[in-house]
């Protein structure tokens, strides 16, 4: 068993000595992830639209709408109640505000008033922030109405300063006990669990580049077959099975090295996951790298030229990346979901996501690990049956 391991170590040494391969396999994914974080995860100024239905049509409702519009970053769009509900049904709008009839009258009479929030799911981040802003604006408006009403009352009764102070205390206590405007939430659809695109992106990028680099190592194998190093190795004491095993382990070693470097960087720089999750991810990386390495051997066994190997590797990697949910969540049904089942990425990303988010352990990923191991085993058998160590007749 020593010779296959020596062969694998040599391949890892060649990988490290090849700056182009290193840049492609390690630097490029880091740059890509940094760009993705910049695009999807950076801070931006807040902009949102408040979708409002005014059933009250009174002065207080008009003032409320006007003041919401004056808040920086918020635009107001008015709807009839039917149109708002229709927009919510179609998910064109995730959060709507309904000012009910009697809003103005309640404020003028000093009774509790309410604004209804109609939301779809969680209502979205922008919707939640908008509701929070509207609540502040409505409270301020209500306080003004209350103060106006109290002053008017005090002025109408020839009062003393002591009485003004006592009345003010009562009003403050009431305001503290209950907010002037109640915001009533009404969920139209239960909240679906939202996925942070960055949570999926790191595993996606790791798996994509692992596939790229390991399957492209099939090209290197073809090159070795052509330049005679594989054949030369067969004139040493290395058997064909040892040579095949060594090349498989070499792919695993390259994949592991690449993945571990990326995971450690993510841990150190981005503070993603803890040490335990990192260790479990490294174990998972071993299985993913084994599957990718076995696929590379199949490509090398079938392809006759460097170009054939390159295009086969690119096609397989792109298919798995696009349909395996690397950048976007996989559909829950239909053709896309079906296609995703034929990708390593789907299973690898699902397993990585849970482990890196520390919501699952390796034990929870038994199904995914079994699938990946099965792919590795089947591909290894196929590759061994088809693999040629020599080029065509010389």
């Amino acid at each position: 068993m020593t010779r296959p391991i020596l062969l694998a170590l040599l391949e890892v040494k060649r990988f490290i000595a090849d700056r182009g391969a290193l840049a492609f396999s390690i630097a490029l994914p880091i740059i890509l992830f940094a760009l993705m974080v910049g695009v999807f995860g950076g801070e931006t100024s807040f902009n949102a639209t408040a979708h409002v239905t005014d059933l009250d049509r009174g002065q207080a409702a008009s003032e409320l709408i006007e003041r919401i519009e004056q808040v920086e970053g918020i635009d107001v769009r008015l709807y009839t109640e039917e149109r708002l509900d229709d927009a919510l049904d179609r998910s064109a709008v995730l959060t709507g505000l309904v000012i009910p009839a009697g809003f103005t009258a309640a404020l003028e009479d000093g009774r509790p008033a309410s604004v209804q929030v109609r939301r779809r799911g969680s209502g979205g981040d922008a919707g939640q922030i908008t509701v929070s802003i509207v609540r502040g604006v409505a409270d301020s408006l209500a306080s003004e109405y209350e103060l106006r009403r109290a002053l008017s009352h005090l002025v109408s009764e020839a009062t003393t300063p002591e009485r003004v102070e006592a009345q003010t205390g009562i009003l403050l206590a009431e305001a503290l006990r209950e907010p002037p405007v109640r915001v009533v939430n009404r969920a139209l659809v239960e909240q679906e669990e939202e996925e942070d695109i960055l949570d999926r992106m790191l595993p996606g990028i790791i798996v994509m580049f692992l596939l790229f680099s390991v399957t492209l190592s099939a090209q290197t194998l073809i090159e070795e077959r052509r330049n005679g190093t594989l054949e030369r190795l067969l004139t040493t004491r290395l058997s064909a099975d040892e040579l095949f095993t060594g090349k498989f382990l070499a792919g695993v070693g390259r994949g592991m090295l690449q993945t571990v470097v990326l995971l450690v960087l993510a841990f150190v720089v981005l503070r993603i996951a803890g040490v335990s999750a990192l260790a479990q991810s490294a174990v998972l990386a071993l299985v993913v790298a084994a599957a990718a390495s076995a696929i590379a051997l199949v490509i090398a066994a079938v392809a006759r030229t460097d170009d054939q190997a390159t295009w086969a590797a690119v096609f397989i990697t792109m298919f798995m990346t696009v349909f395996g949910g690397t950048f976007f969540p996989i559909a829950s049904s239909g053709v896309l979901e079906l296609l995703s089942r034929f990708t390593l990425n789907r299973y690898a990303i699902d397993a990585y996501e849970g482990i890196l988010a520390e919501t699952a352990t390796l034990g929870d990923a038994t199904f995914e690990i079994a699938i990946l191991s099965g792919v590795a085993l089947v591909c290894l058998i196929v590759a061994r049956l088809l693999f040629r160590f020599s080029s065509e007749a010389k």
Partner: protein, 259 residues
């Protein structure tokens, strides 16, 4: 300076015996009933135009390819049945530069040495000796991709020497290199023969074969068409003193162009 070819003709132990080797690819017979012997401490030249079947013959002799018919023994061990024993006895320098260009010469040699069964320590010591022999000690730690063509050829030969073989296969080892490197390789090959190694050498350069080889087999269209010492071959078409090996070669294989 090494001894001349004729100085070794006294030793006639048969070290490699090829008998009736035949090989076809996709129905095309590439090698047909090839039989010859390589004696101990002999440089045996295998000459022939492109496509004559030389490399296929070497692949069969060196355990890489199984013949359809015939057998080969190396020091009494059958290549087909005792390939591991045969591999302990042989070193192969293929026509291609079969090495890892990203790695240094030392790393290449140590790796192939380990594959040939040497321990790590043995492989490192042997690599240093072999690199000195091929004149690459000073550049031993440089990546092979930075070497000139001649230096790469010398590394290619050095790898074949790592296992201290008793029979060395050199398949066109001097293709595309300058006269200095070529002469260095000649001296190395002659010295190895003088130390007791048998060498099977293929080349397209007739003056090279004339200078180095004790005996020569001429192949054409998959068959051995002539076998003997350079002097014996020259005598077949004229005065050995006035005839060149190239004239013999063209006389035997014809002047028509080959693929």
């Amino acid at each position: 300076m090494s001894a001349s070819p004729s100085a070794n003709m006294g030793c006639m132990d048969e070290f490699l015996v090829a008998t009736g080797l035949t090989k076809s690819f996709d129905g095309v017979q590439v090698v047909e009933s090839v039989s010859f012997t390589v004696h101990a401490k002999e440089i045996f030249g295998l000459l022939g135009p492109n496509g004559a079947g030389k490399t296929t013959t070497i692949r069969m002799l060196s355990t890489v390819l199984g013949p359809d018919e015939g057998d080969v023994t190396v020091d009494g061990h059958s290549v087909g049945r005792e390939s591991d024993a045969v591999r302990r006895l042989i070193g192969v320098c293929p026509q291609e530069l079969a090495l890892y260009p990203e790695l240094s010469a030392t790393d290449n040699l140590v790796f192939f040495g380990r594959m040939a069964g040497l321990s790590g320590k043995e492989a490192k010591e042997r690599a240093a000796d072999v690199l000195e022999r091929v004149g690459l000690t000073e550049r031993a730690k440089d990546a092979v991709r930075k070497y000139s063509g001649g230096m790469k050829r010398r590394v290619n030969i050095a790898i074949a020497l790592m296992s201290r073989p008793r029979l060395l296969f050199l398949d066109e080892p001097t293709v595309g290199i300058d006269p200095q490197s070529r002469n260095h390789i000649f001296d190395t090959v002659l010295a190895l023969r003088d130390e007791g190694m048998s060498v099977l050498y293929t080349t397209h350069y007739m003056e090279e074969a004339d200078r180095l080889c004790d005996r020569i087999g001429v192949m054409d269209a998959g068959r051995i068409i002539a076998l003997g010492t350079p002097t014996e071959l020259k005598a077949q078409i004229g005065d050995p003193g006035a005839t060149t090996l190239e004239e013999v070669f063209l006389s035997l294989t014809g002047r028509s162009l080959r693929d």
